[in-house]
Symmetry: C2
Subunit: 418 residues, 2 copies
Amino acid sequence: MTTMEQLRAAKTASKALLRAPAERRNQALRNMADALEARREAILRENALDVEAARGTVSPVMLDRLALDGGRVAAMADGVRQVAALPDPVGLTLETVTRPNGLRIEKRSVPMGVVAIVYESRPNVTSDAAALALKSGNACVLRGGREAYRTARAIAEALREGVQAAGLPADSVTMLEDTSHASVGELMKAVGLVDLLIPRGGRRLIEACVRDALVPCIQTGTGICHVYVDGEADQDMALDIVENAKTSRPSVCNAEEVLLVDRRIAREFLPRLKARLVDGRLDAGLPPVELRAGPAAAAILGLPPAGPDDFDTEFLDYILAVGLVDGAEAAVEHIAAHSTGHSDAIVTANPETAERFLQTVDSAAVYWNASTRFTDGGEFGLGCEMGISTQKLHARGPMGLRELTTYKYVIRGTGQTR
Amino acid sequence: MTTMEQLRAAKTASKALLRAPAERRNQALRNMADALEARREAILRENALDVEAARGTVSPVMLDRLALDGGRVAAMADGVRQVAALPDPVGLTLETVTRPNGLRIEKRSVPMGVVAIVYESRPNVTSDAAALALKSGNACVLRGGREAYRTARAIAEALREGVQAAGLPADSVTMLEDTSHASVGELMKAVGLVDLLIPRGGRRLIEACVRDALVPCIQTGTGICHVYVDGEADQDMALDIVENAKTSRPSVCNAEEVLLVDRRIAREFLPRLKARLVDGRLDAGLPPVELRAGPAAAAILGLPPAGPDDFDTEFLDYILAVGLVDGAEAAVEHIAAHSTGHSDAIVTANPETAERFLQTVDSAAVYWNASTRFTDGGEFGLGCEMGISTQKLHARGPMGLRELTTYKYVIRGTGQTR
């Protein structure tokens, strides 16, 4: 089928979902999980073909992301079952008011309709995204990466079988057949067929969506996250947080990319930082962090100064830009100029300094004395996550089920006119 | 100043607003109202120049919209005072959770930053929009219509004086000096300076924003609203609702444009409709409604059949498209194909039919036994309104103060790492 035909089928399916009670949607989710396990061998067979084709053309890290085994398929099924067990996010009465004229106005949570997700190669995104969309009463349109297409198609077939066994349209889970660049363009322009487009991927994909999309779109994921170590910080705590935020998983969007240090403590703190992130890690057999320091910090550290782009780069690697600032206000200003509005942190023992920072840093998540790595739907207690929004409209930070819904006003009268 | 210089000044002002407590913002609003009254003569003088220049080039209705008098200025000041008295929408703790690891996560309402509004000639929009933006902690950028520029500038000067007297930056209220088409294009592309763009105006402006805007944008206002009269309706009530929805103010977006009638009652209801909307109104000296009926309805009414576009046109006039459908399900299908998702109503005495309609019509406001004319911030009890969103992302239906805010996550820890 063409992409437009597939989108029309998904839109039709979304209308059936609008009428489906929670129990039927949850039954579909449980069936989806069962079908993933029942079709495990077929999924692994297709995955082996994808891995074989990709070998040598992608990095070992990418290849590992792409590869499935029995345990990973079981984990995907488990994830779907966990989504089924979450509270229902649609049909909730969010507010209700009876007006003096007797009109009863209910604000009710409802599905978006069709949610389209563009993503890359991780196979579990296929089942995670489909589960979250279905749980929130939406049909989903999945446009996965080409190198994982056989795997994603096998997974989607299992999911569709599960949906259908619950009496809902298989097209509630629609995997685009066209994995060429053109299909992303069609998604972006499918006004009336796509109610929400979520690009999960690199900066170029997200920029293309912002520039070209005619359908509503949520920007996700780019994170130039800062940690500011204040002059009044507990320096041991600061070192723990900085190391964790940088090294616990450098390839993700909530990892720290820039460290700002209060000039008052630079001569004491920077040598300790180097000992911890470079020498200490080398001694422990861990990958050391490359420090790219601004001029003043570089002089203290005895390093060449950082390049002009180092404070505006999402390294996603064991690299950390290090700059000195004159206190918390200056840190806030630096962050306003350089942050992508994802996650930024202050380490300080002074509560007033902390509260001012928390109030004035304009990011989705602002931390006091904790690692930026906690910006995550699971860590926030949302039970799941469809991505992390770095925009202010509709959703900010980790997007859970609620962020996949909208609302409508339902007004019941007895003949009122105005 | 150039538009970009003005936008940068507004962005700087928005940072001061982020720190301004509610009492200071409310003081600014009360000052703004006082300044409008103190500068009444200057505002009326500028308005007279605008009216003089527009006379003969715009319709009498437009000229009346543009013209101010002492009473209208007082009403503007009053509107600003009412906004000052509303509850504060920012800095609210929307949710809070303490995680097992001890992290305290607060979801807090915060301003958007800079809200830009593009509008046409009604002078009160200048003060209404500025008041709502300031109340919600946002700087506003106003880009009014050229034919009302002198009036809007005089109003904005009063508002800026009021803001400044409360110790907040005058640029919190920024009126673009450039009223050429180019300034709208600059607003649309001012990434990082405009946090939310609200186009209030005709379909072409809104379409241009959807197509060209790189900044977040909310579509407002286009309303092809339907009333469906079910076979089980109280026909007297139906006639009241249909007449009110069509004729109480035909030029607004919540007015009815399409009437759908259950085929079962067409032979009884349509003659009564004609008696009420055409002959009855003529007898009463009121403007009659031109009925544009689909083929089957036209045959009953003895009229020529409607043209092909009549069921997809926002008439904003005393014109009503009339079609027959086979019951409520068919009405829902017609609405799905032709509605702009603004406001749609059913008139029926059957609660089950009504609830099915309310659930399956995918519009911002769905009514049972009431006129679509109630879709309005004031009528919904929001206390004010910045426009009516017809999109699903972020805001749907009447936008009040809450819809001019976003949220952020504030996380307080004691050294947690992941």
